[in-house]
Symmetry: C2
Subunit: 327 residues, 2 copies
């Protein structure tokens, strides 16, 4: 009998879904970042749950307050990708019985940090006992059905874009887990690990323009995000560059690492990976600049369903590789 460590997370999820009865109409299919229920002709209730498990998800040096905040931020990031404003957050906490009052203080402040940064509130939850610290967040919001940006709307010719460069979290985990040396200038790299940000203002601004045809966050890495967009939109992507943080380029040079690998196959990053209708590029970019964000074109969607990086005359396929649970 196959163990799930052999199957991997995606097969496990497929297996679960295959055993579920489906409603006649699903507003958003399984496989997108959020679920939705129709409230009336135009409006969706949008729902998301995400589980943060302390034993696997807390890197060395992350405080409990940062961990609790991150659990909120990673769930809100999916709302950011869909362009939906979170209206309320609930959280179920699994707490080890040897935690102290000060730990609870840190956790509750971290949860509050997370929701308040994104202009929402924690309105309910549950606590229970567990061997490890667990935070399960649920986020609720509402959206005009036409404004919600799914994973499935990309069309050949759409511009492939991201809200920022990649690789900091992968570099940070090299430092924290593999003992690579940290220099003074790597501080922003560690910040990316300890205090990740969800691109909510960016997602909301893009949704208002109506010019994003598909969107996903990059929590499983840029390569996985591209493959997931491909699968749901039935397009391929031709990339002309991989957007790498300048700090990551320096870090990689200093340590003999490949910065493009760090940018493509990391994870736990929360930039948005988007496709933009060509006629709407300027409008979309202006909208992001207005909220202090950025929109970087890195290629375009293709009819041919492979994902290819072309630099000069070299052409390289980008494989499905990144973070997957159980493996």
């Amino acid at each position: 009998m196959a163990k799930i460590s052999y199957l991997g997370e995606r097969k496990v999820i497929e297996k679960i879904i295959s055993n579920l009865e489906k409603p006649l109409k699903m507003e958003i299919p399984f496989g997108d970042d959020v679920a939705a229920v129709s409230l009336n002709r135009d409006t969706l209730a949008v729902l998301k749950t995400d589980m943060f498990v302390g034993e696997t998800d807390i890197p060395p040096g992350m405080t409990l307050r940062q961990a609790a905040r991150k659990a909120v931020v990673m769930t809100i990031s999916d709302f950011a990708a869909k362009g939906v404003k979170p209206r309320a957050v609930l959280t179920s906490l699994g707490l080890p019985r040897n935690m102290t009052e000060m730990d609870i203080e840190a956790i509750s402040r971290g949860l509050n940090d997370g929701v308040r940064e994104y202009d929402t509130y924690l309105v309910g939850g549950d606590t229970g006992e567990s061997s490890y610290f667990i935070v399960c967040c649920m986020v609720f919001g509402t959206s005009n059905a036409k404004r919600l940006i799914t994973r499935s709307g990309a069309r050949p010719g759409d511009i492939l874009a991201v809200t920022g460069p990649f690789g900091k979290t992968a570099a940070g985990l090299k430092i924290l887990l593999k003992g690579f040396e940290v220099s003074e200038e790597d501080k922003t790299i560690l910040d990316a690990v300890y205090m990740p940000k969800a691109r909510l203002s960016e997602g909301l601004a893009l949704s208002r323009t109506g010019m994003a045809s598909a969107s996903i966050d990059s929590s499983d890495g840029l390569a996985v995000s591209l493959h997931e967009l491909r699968k749901m939109s039935h397009v391929g992507f031709a990339l002309r560059e991989v957007p790498v943080s300048p700090e990551v380029v320096k870090f990689a040079d200093r340590n003999g690492l490949d910065s493009v690998e760090l940018a493509l196959y990391g994870g736990e990053e929360y930039e948005l990976v988007l496709t933009i209708k060509p006629k709407g590029w300027d409008k979309a970019q202006q909208a992001l600049h207005k909220v202090g964000g950025d929109l970087i074109a890195i290629g375009h969607a293709t009819r041919n369903q492979d994902i290819v990086l072309r630099i000069g005359d070299t052409k390289k396929e980008i494989p499905y590789r990144g973070w997957e649970h159980f493996r």
Copy 2:
């Protein structure tokens, strides 16, 4: 520094809430069974999350399928208590990496059992790795704001009622955890542990009558439910009987146990504990009979804020005692 095993769950929750910024208006305050967000003048989005932790919450002999089903049922039970129909369920699963494909099959069937029994669907979720099996459910529904039955509406003179007798789960756990002997007639006792039911039809029917002034489920035991209603409604209760299952009376007699203790201080039972406006008693009872349920009067709400059981001339206070995490 105080450990949470000393503080207990209720103090931990108080501590967490004290560190949260609150929205200007909370539709339902902390301390009730669900949270809510206003959708428009009349309608609330109703939200609930509950965490089921395998290492502490699975009694001996419970299958994975039953455990997954129960995780759904216990969350839906809070919707039952509020008289709100669940419209969608999401679930985050923590899965140990040595689980097999067959385990995933059992878990997904159990989740589907739980949602379909209550005429709703699982529409999304998340999976992650953890040492123990964890199910975190979130339920979403909508309700007319006036129809939702809170914990805080009981008034002196209201009739105290329950939807069924108590004690089976406590007796079942005596059998499963303490080695008490099980006889053929105890089958319904073990069923109560393995296949608990949420009183959803009953809660929905009561909400439609508008005659229930307050409601809570009995997941932490009948005594705790009474104390929680007291705290939120600022009333006391005079009980003239404790409703004990006939099977539990027999089980207790055979084993030299006190059946009233089993009924008052158990937990993991999902009967509703309600207050009914006196003029609406007949209407409420008929509504429950119509859906195949029952409504048993066991006393009334009092101005005096203590909880007292009076049988003949004896008068006994019912202390706050029941299930509490971390302790």
